[in-house]
């Protein structure tokens, strides 16, 4: 074997490694992946999602790794998760099944007028849509960016996958990042919009909700949504199925699986496949940066919408609602409700708003799904 042959062989081996195929975008993406890992591990920001997303970003930004792509008509590992889980729109719906199985709609059933707060808190979704078009996005992209303010991860992913799959990674990341930052974003806005008298409004204790009402609720909601916004029934149908399983008490094993093992499994697949969509070529452009800025605006306007809706409702109601619970209309369950509770206690130590805030919080989930349905109907 000659020296040249040995060198050729070494050169060939070197070509099969990543070193010769590196680009400057890759280390940048590693840092972004590591930033999300840091936020998840050290700061405990939405760790269940940011950890797999961060690691997904990290993994796919190495050259030649057979993770996202197709070989001989067979998807690579993460491509398979993405293709069958997200492109087929299965994972967001299964997550909604688990969420339904974990959710107690009692506070919303006891005080159904808080449903309107969930609608008002979608204001930012529509305002941001306009801003996003001005920033140079297409109508479909604008809708998918707008829904970030609904603060509902699975709904954001579902709508983005439906309308603008090229923005999936950025939108999902923006949604989950801002959801984790609700305690930082909302309090100054709510404080600015309310006076000290409003902040100390005490609300009447919620009534007890019977088991029959809780069982009927998913059936009623599923019927109303199916008739009015059928396009989001894959999400809402699963949400209500999970809730019916829980409230019926007849299928304890299924409920336990839906809220535990199944939820955990799909969360892993969701996180890692969302992260895997974020290769440097797609992510390092002006669009994701704008999405993050617009997402913040979106969250702020949605919070304003929720608080203003409560203030408008108070003009007509005998029993006033504390506007601090208006901010919980942005979904982000239960973080936004906890923020309302925390703020309420700051101004009046004996004021317990958590259960009251859960009403608009859950209404926000339905509201953002309804907004998503409106957008899907607009383009389909």
């Amino acid at each position: 074997m000659t020296m040249n042959e040995i060198l050729d062989m070494l050169y060939g081996i070197l070509h099969t490694t990543g070193f010769l195929n590196m680009s400057w975008k890759m280390p940048v993406m590693w840092s972004i992946g590591c930033l999300f890992l840091y936020l998840a591990i050290t700061k405990n920001f939405e760790p269940l999602l940011l950890l797999p997303i961060g690691f997904g970003i990290f993994l796919v930004n190495f050259p030649l790794v057979p993770l996202m792509g197709w070989s001989h008509d067979q998807p690579h590992l993460l491509e398979a998760f993405y293709h069958y889980g997200l492109e087929w729109e299965i994972i967001p719906c299964v997550i909604f099944l688990g969420l339904g199985a974990m959710t107690d709609f009692g506070p919303l059933i006891a005080n159904p007028k808080t449903l309107l707060v969930g609608a008002g808190a979608q204001l930012g979704v529509f305002v941001t849509f306009t801003g996003t078009i001005l920033a140079g996005f297409t109508l479909k992209e604008a809708a998918s960016v707008g829904i970030i303010g609904g603060a509902d991860g699975p709904t954001t992913i579902y709508l983005t996958q439906h309308l603008a799959p090229q923005l999936l990674g950025a939108n999902a990341l923006a949604a989950y990042s801002y959801m984790a930052m609700v305690p930082l974003i909302q309090p100054p806005i709510v404080k600015w919009l309310t006076n000290s008298k409003e902040r100390t409004i005490r609300m009447k204790q919620l009534r007890q909700v019977s088991r029959t009402e809780k069982i009927l609720y998913p059936l009623i909601t599923a019927s109303v949504i199916a008739l009015l916004v059928p396009s989001v029934m894959p999400l809402m149908g699963m949400f209500m199925l999970g809730n019916l399983m829980k409230e019926s008490g007849a299928v304890a094993r299924l409920t336990e699986t839906a809220q535990g093992a199944l939820m955990n499994v799909v969360t892993i697949f969701l996180g890692v496949s969302v992260g895997a969509t974020m290769t440097g070529d797609k992510f390092l452009s002006w669009k994701p940066l704008l999405i993050f800025s617009l997402g913040l605006l979106d969250f702020a306007v949605c919070t304003i919408g929720g608080v203003l809706t409560v203030k408008i409702m108070n003009l007509f109601l005998k029993e006033k609602i504390n506007p601090l619970i208006g901010s919980a209309g942005v979904s982000a369950v239960p973080m936004a409700a906890r923020v309302s509770q925390m703020m309420g206690q700051k101004y009046d130590k004996g004021n317990f708003l958590l259960m009251h805030a859960m009403g608009p919080n859950l209404a926000g989930v339905i509201g953002s799904a309804a907004a998503a349905g409106m957008f899907i109907a607009m383009f389909d």
Partner: protein, 157 residues
Amino acid sequence: MNRLLALVIIFLFFLVPVVGAEEFLQAPVIPGGKVINKTDDRLEVHYNLSHKEVIEFYREALKDTKDIKFRERKDETYIEDDGRLPWHSITFPKKCPDGIVVTIVKDNWTWILGTLFLRFIGVFVVLLILYLAMVTSGAITTMLLARPVKKSPPIGR
């Protein structure tokens, strides 16, 4: 020779949408029509063509354009651009005994803001109907489940 001529004519017919078509706001315009109305944001052209011929022209002309929707309404065909093109819609009626009028409209903020406002109201309507359904069902459930309070028997005589 005739066969060759026919082939050339067919080729040219399909070539027209690609290279020969005029444009208004980058929207293809079928050549040979009579302009009824033309402003900066609207064009109306009359043609002696059938609905089928017009729709075939546009299907061919827009086949490579992204984010285009062909919506078949009851009385008209409505082609909508959901992308970033300067035109918003191309509309033409389905019944056209005296020729067909194709209307091209510029992309406009009135449409965008109008549809957004309506859809925001739509979210309220959905949740309002859900609210009414919940209140009604709650009232019915409470009524059905309400049990008459048993009067305790009088103590003593």
